[in-house]
Subunit: 347 residues, 2 copies
C-alpha cells in the first residue's frame, strides 16, 4: 500500500507529491498550518486525500487547545476549519471531512479536551480507513463495467496518491488487472502539474501494470484508432444533477468518448457527492497561478511577459457521463435520481 | 517580417526554432546534409517552411556538382532529393518542393552546371516568395470567414515561423487583426514540442496581438464558456477527399469544435494539397522519439523506464472541417470536389 498520508502518533506524515517521481521524500506536519500549506501547495492533492489531510489537520490543531470550555473549543475548531477549507475551493471532500469532524466534536463536546482529542483522532482515522475501503469496493464494482479486454485511458492521478490508498479511477484499474480484464492503460500526462506523467506512471509501474504515457492532446488519436476503449477518471465534486468537476481536461475527454462511443466512467466515493450544489455551474472552479503554465519543472517555456490562464478544473455535464461508480453502487442516467438513491442507502 | 529562412548568397540561414523564445540564434547550412539535419531535428519545422528549406537544400547540393553530364546531374539530384525527402514523412510540401525543383532541372538540363544552378536558385526563391504571397492571400480570405468579434483558438505554430513568412493559420489571425475583426487569440501550448508556447506566443507578441497561452487540455473548457468562437489550424498534408493531417491534437479540437458549433478552419497553401493520396488513412504519420514525451526542456518528468508514445500528427476527417482556405479560394463540403476545382484553376 502506498504511503500517501499517515498519522504517526504525533504528526501527520505525507509523501511530497511535488517531488515525485524523482524523489521519495516525506513531509511531517506538526500543526494545522503546515497541513493547510501542504494542501495549498499540492504536496498532497486528490479530493479524497485532502479530505483525510484536513481531518488530521483538525486533530493537530485541537490538541494544542488548552481550554476545556465548550465555547473556546468550538471557536478554535471553526478557526482551524476555515483555514483548511480555504486552501482549495473545488474538491468538496475537504468540507465534507470538516463537517464530519464537526459532528464528532459536537457529539463529544461534554468531554474534557484530553478525552475529546482521542475521539477526534478516532474519527479522522475512520475517515482514512473508510476511504480505502470505499476505493476497494468501487474499484471492484467499476472493473465489471469495463469492456472485457479493457484498454483504459485515465487522466490526472486518481490513484492511491489521490486517496488514502488504492485509488478511485486507478482502483478500478487495479481491480480490473486483478480480475484479468485489463489489456492496457494509457495515462494522459495532465499538464500543467503533470500528475499523470509523474504520479500515475509511478504508482502503476510499482504495481507492474503496463502503462503508456501520452500527452493530453494525443487521446483523440488513440481513440480513433481503437487503441482506447474506455475512459475512467476521478472527481473533485459531483453536483446533485450528476455534473462532475474534475481536473482540467476531463470535460474534453468526455466529449471525445461520446464521439467514439467509448464508455466514460467517473469513480468517486460518496464523500465527493455534493447534494447541496444543484449543478456544475454552481461549483467554484479554482484558478491557479499562470506561472504553472508558462513554466515547466521550474523552467520558463513561454516568452517573458506571456499571458496565460490556468483553470485547474472543468465541469463535465451529466449527459456525457456513462456511469458514476461509488462504494455503494453504480449511478446511471438519469444521474440525479440514481445518485440520490445511492446517497440515501444506509451504509 | 520574421526571418524564418533566407538564402544569403552562398548558404541557407534559418532561425533555430528549438531555442526560441529564450535565444534568437541562426543556423547557417552549407550543404544539403546540414539542411536535412535541420529539418530532421526540427531547427526548422512547419510544412511550407520545410518545403522552402528542401528547395534551397537542393541548390546547395547541386552547386557542389562538378560534372556537366546530364546523367550525373540527374543522379546527384535524386540522391539529394532522397536525403531531404526522408527527413520527415508527413508534410507533403517537402516532396512537392522537390518535384517542382525536379521539373526545373529537367527544363534546364541542356544548360551547363554553372548556368543550371542559377536557374535552380531562381526556382527555390520563387517557391519562397510565392509561399509568402499565398499566405497573405489566404490570410485575407480566411479572416472574412471568422465571426466578427473573433476569439480564435490556434494549435501548434502555423505562423511566419512555419512558412516563408506571414503564416497560414496565423496569417488569418494577422489579417483579422488588421481588419479589426480579432478580439482574442488563445494558443494551445502544444505538447510535446511546445510550438504554441514557444513559437506562436513569440510571434504574436512581437506583432502586438494579444494572445493567451493555455495547456492543450484547457481548450474544451474555454469553448464551453464561449470564450473561443473559432478554431484555425494549419496542415501538413490534405488528402484528395479533404482529410487533413496536422500536428497531434488537431483532430481532438475538430471534435470539440463540432460539439460546440464553432467553425473549424484549416489554412494551407495549395502546396499542402496531395491529390495523389486518396484519404487520411493513406497519410504516413511520423512517430517521433518517446523521449520528447517523457522529458520536457531536457528534464525527465516521467519515472525512469516509463513507456511513452509519440505520434507527431493526427488526421482530421473531412466531415469535421468547416472550410479549407488556400491562396485561390475557400473549399467547403463536399471538400473533395471543392479542392479539385481550386487545384484546377490556373494560378
Amino acid at each position: 500500500m502506498l504511503p500517501t498520508i499517515a498519522w504517526d502518533g504525533e504528526t501527520v506524515v505525507m509523501i511530497d507529491q511535488r517531488r515525485l517521481p524523482q524523489e521519495e521524500t516525506y513531509l511531517r506536519c506538526r500543526d494545522q498550518h503546515e497541513v493547510a500549506a501542504a494542501i495549498r501547495d499540492m504536496a498532497i492533492r486528490g479530493a479524497p486525500a485532502i479530505g483525510v489531510a484536513a481531518a488530521m489537520g483538525i486533530v493537530l490543531g485541537m490538541q494544542r487547545q488548552a481550554s476545556d470550555a465548550a465555547g473556546d473549543r468550538a471557536a478554535t475548531f471553526e478557526a482551524i476549519a476555515r483555514e483548511l477549507a480555504a486552501t482549495r475551493p473545488t474538491a468538496v471532500n475537504l468540507s465534507w471531512a470538516i463537517a464530519r469532524m464537526r459532528r464528532c466534536l459536537e457529539t463529544h463536546l461534554a468531554l474534557r479536551t484530553a478525552s475529546l482529542v482521542p475521539e477526534l483522532l478516532r474519527e479522522a482515522l475512520a475517515i482514512e480507513r473508510e476511504d480505502i475501503d470505499a476505493c476497494r469496493r468501487l474499484g471492484d464494482l467499476g472493473a465489471l463495467l469495463l469492456p472485457e479486454r479493457a484498454r483504459v485511458l485515465t487522466h490526472c492521478n486518481a490513484g492511491a496518491l489521490a486517496t488514502a490508498g488504492y485509488g478511485t479511477a486507478l482502483g478500478i484499474v487495479r481491480s480490473a488487472a486483478r480480475l484479468g480484464r485489463l489489456e492496457a492503460v494509457f495515462a494522459d500526462e495532465t499538464r500543467p502539474f503533470l500528475q499523470g506523467a509523474r504520479l500515475t506512471l509511478w504508482e502503476l509501474m510499482r504495481d507492474g501494470i503496463p502503462t503508456t504515457l501520452i500527452t493530453d492532446n494525443m487521446a483523440a488519436h488513440f481513440m480513433a484508432r481503437g487503441e482506447i476503449n474506455a475512459i475512467v477518471v476521478g472527481a473533485d465534486r459531483i453536483a446533485a444533477n450528476g455534473d462532475v468537476a474534475n481536473k482540467i481536461g476531463t470535460y474534453g475527454l468526455a466529449v471525445l468518448a461520446k464521439e467514439h462511443c467509448i464508455p466514460f466512467l467517473v469513480a468517486a466515493p460518496l464523500s465527493t457527492f455534493d447534494p447541496a450544489t444543484p449543478t456544475g455551474v454552481d461549483i467554484p472552479i479554482e484558478e491557479r497561478s499562470p506561472h504553472e503554465v508558462t513554466h515547466i519543472a521550474g523552467q520558463r517555456v513561454a516568452p517573458e511577459g506571456a499571458v496565460a490562464r490556468h483553470p485547474a478544473f472543468d465541469v463535465t455535464p451529466a449527459r456525457l457521463v456513462s456511469a458514476i461508480v461509488c462504494e455503494r453502487g453504480v449511478a446511471r442516467a438519469p444521474l440525479a435520481d440514481s445518485l440520490a438513491q445511492l446517497a440515501r442507502i444506509v451504509g
